[in-house]
């Protein structure tokens, strides 16, 4: 027996960039976070060849789950061709050899920054959301160790108070994206800065969602078929963005979350935010036969 038989040939990096111990840490903490839905699990977040705050948390999860049989989709603010999405997709493919796709229906693993695709995700799909700030209590308690204790005590009084004050001062809840939501009736989590439009898509969803904050070193999850309920008062219903009546100026798609494009004459036009859904709509309109998935919203309404 020689030493060469006992070792693997030298390689500049491990498969999927992260070494085995980093992947083990990620797997353990992912399992833990699935077991306690919505609860933030601290993890040893490694440096990756990308700046902190640019999706390093989501990237570590994707790098751990990836294998050559998995098809990956990466989106940033709804768009596949956004520069950072392109960069992450290229990196994932480079270190894993996994095929990539832009089509939500063909993806096994979707890493996303701040959007959930408009087409319904299936049981066999995993959504990885990049999270800048994992702490829904940050605005009422910037100290992480105290906030952690508040979660332990389910002490969300100040969170409710903040929402109440917004209603009193402005006549409505002013929270834009990252709407605080109760998961499985126990932990309040931030759904990451997805628009309010996307939060109901997490409720009792068929797919697994993993939310990972690399810089803040916290991971949490929404397992399939788990309750995700935005914090609302009984007499003030939850309101998504008023986009139900808007039409995409490029694809004609109607009733989805839109990007507002300011025009020089002072008006605005709109483009569907889920870029690939827009592209598919255009191609279908132009006579191509392709599969459009079922959408969460129908005619701008989310069925209860």
């Amino acid at each position: 027996m020689s030493l060469a038989n006992l070792t693997k040939p030298w390689a500049p990096m491990s498969y999927g960039f992260l070494d085995a111990s980093a992947k083990r840490e990620l797997r353990r903490k992912m399992i833990k976070s699935v077991c306690v839905p919505g609860c933030q699990m601290p993890y040893a977040s490694r440096e990756v060849p990308m700046a902190r705050g640019w999706g390093t948390g989501g990237l570590q999860v994707s790098l751990t789950l990836i294998n050559p049989q998995i098809t990956v989709k990466v989106i940033d603010q709804g768009a596949d061709d956004s520069v950072n999405a392109a960069s992450i997709r290229r990196f994932l493919a480079r270190v894993s050899g996994a095929p990539t796709t832009l089509d939500t229906l063909k993806a096994d693993l979707i890493q996303s920054r701040h959007r959930i695709p408009e087409e319904v995700l299936r049981e066999d799909q995993v959504l990885v959301l990049q999270v800048p700030n994992p702490e829904p209590l940050r605005s009422v308690q910037p100290n992480m160790s105290i906030a952690r204790q508040m979660h332990g005590d389910a002490d969300y009084g100040r969170m409710w108070l903040q929402l109440y004050e917004q209603i009193v001062r402005s006549g409505r809840v002013m929270q834009g994206a990252s709407y605080p939501s109760m998961v499985n009736g126990r932990h309040v989590m931030t759904p990451s800065p997805i628009p309010r439009w996307d939060v109901p898509k997490l409720h009792m969803a068929k797919h697994l969602t993993i939310l990972s904050a690399g810089r803040e070193k916290r991971i949490f999850a929404v397992p399939p078929f788990t309750r995700v309920e935005p914090l609302v008062f009984d007499d003030v219903p939850y309101r998504v963005e008023d986009h139900a009546g808007l039409t995409c100026s490029r694809s004609g798609a109607k009733g989805f979350f839109m990007n507002e494009i300011p025009q020089s004459d002072g008006t605005s036009t709109y483009e569907v935010s889920d870029s690939e859904y827009g592209v598919k709509s255009i191609r279908q309109r132009d006579g191509e036969t392709l599969t459009m998935g079922e959408t969460w919203y129908k005619d701008g309404e989310m069925p209860q």
Binding site: G78, D81, N84, R169, M174, P195, F257, E260, S273, I282
Partner: protein, 349 residues
């Protein structure tokens, strides 16, 4: 309208990187060696913040990033984290350090002596403009002292402890894999002592200075006296699998002990880092000194300064604001416009 895909992203990012690299020009081993030889203190700083002691790799990172310090540290950290850990070196005791420079502001003279060593402290900060005019600056030779300073010294706090002026922290017997490792575990609060010292060791110099300076100016309770500042080399002692202990080489380290009167005893703050970096060690030790009992949310509270002096995280988050945020922005606009459209009821008098 025909189907027009906007797939310019991938090409654009490739070309923008090329634009940066082209301006940097060809990088070869000679340029890296030049950086290493010309900028040892910068190399030290980067090694400390990357928590990776390798002058060649640090010089390479600096060269490759054109001296963009945050990028250089990130490149090194990302490289470091993928490397296997072969073994853990033995703990370094203060009196086994090979001292180059060691000064105390607390006493006129100290056991082991004041050793001035290499420093610009007393230099006149005059720019050597003659060099640009074609006259090279050739530094005068050093004349060695008749009696060389001893290579090893005890710490000043050891003398103070013997005189019941300071309580030294209990010796931590953890060794090898049992030592908590910040790069393999999340930082939680109250932090483990090892995590605190490791965080400070790899903290960003400018960040530590900013918060340390805030503490020195009065946002901290304790005014530091530099008990001892030391620039040294440490032997890295490791154990061969066959049991032989040997030195894998020496690394440059710096450390600072600062003290302040707390009741009838001296409070002690400590920090150490790879490379020679005096400003960082004094600032970090000052933060350590002030952290005991600091109010939550104050700049001298451990959670506050450890989070905010983490340079890779701080710089990364700062530059992430360059990324598109139009979805989040759209969501806020929606709430704003709706609130504006509704008249707010004035509260009854």
């Amino acid at each position: 309208m025909a189907y027009v895909a906007t797939r310019g992203g991938e090409r654009a990012i490739e070309q923008s990187e090329r634009l940066f690299r082209e301006a940097m020009g060809k990088i070869d081993a000679a340029r890296v060696s030049e950086v290493k030889a010309a900028l040892p203190y910068l190399v030290d700083r980067v090694m400390g913040e990357a928590s990776l002691y390798d002058e060649d790799l640090a010089a390479l990172a600096l060269t490759q990033t054109g001296g963009e310090l945050y990028e250089a540290v990130l490149v090194l950290r990302a490289w470091r984290t993928t490397q296997p850990r072969l073994c853990v070196a033995a703990a370094v005791e203060q009196d086994s350090l090979f001292t180059h420079r060691r000064i105390s502001a607390a006493f006129k003279d100290i056991p082991g002596g004041q050793v001035l060593g290499p420093t610009l402290d007393y230099s006149h900060r005059v720019l050597a403009t003659d060099v640009l005019g074609g006259t090279p600056f050739d530094p005068p030779r050093v004349e060695p002292a008749a009696n060389p300073a001893p290579a090893h010294q005890p710490s000043v706090s050891a003398w103070q402890a013997a005189n019941d002026l300071v309580d030294l922290p209990a010796t931590d017997g953890a060794a090898g894999e049992a030592i908590p490792d910040l790069t393999r575990e999340p930082l939680l609060f109250p932090a483990k002592r090892a995590h605190t010292l490791q965080s400070l060791a790899r903290a960003e110099t400018g960040g530590v200075l900013a918060l340390g300076y805030a503490a020195m100016r009065g946002y901290g309770q304790a005014h530091p006296t530099v008990n001892e500042l030391r620039l040294a080399e440490a032997e890295v002692m490791v154990k061969h699998p066959n049991g032989t202990e040997f030195s894998a080489g020496r690394v440059k380290v710096s450390q600072a002990e600062v003290v302040s009167k707390t009741g009838d005893k001296l409070g002690l703050g400590f920090a150490a880092t790879f490379g020679w970096n005096e400003v960082k060690c004094i600032s970090a030790a000052t933060l350590d000194l002030n952290s005991k009992g600091a109010p939550k949310g104050s700049p001298t509270e451990e959670e506050f300064f450890l989070y905010h002096t983490e340079g890779v995280e701080a710089s990364g988050f700062c530059i992430h604001f360059k990324l598109p945020h139009y979805v989040t922005f759209q969501s806020s606009l929606d709430a704003m416009r709706d609130a504006k459209a509704k008249p707010v009821k004035e509260p009854a008098e």
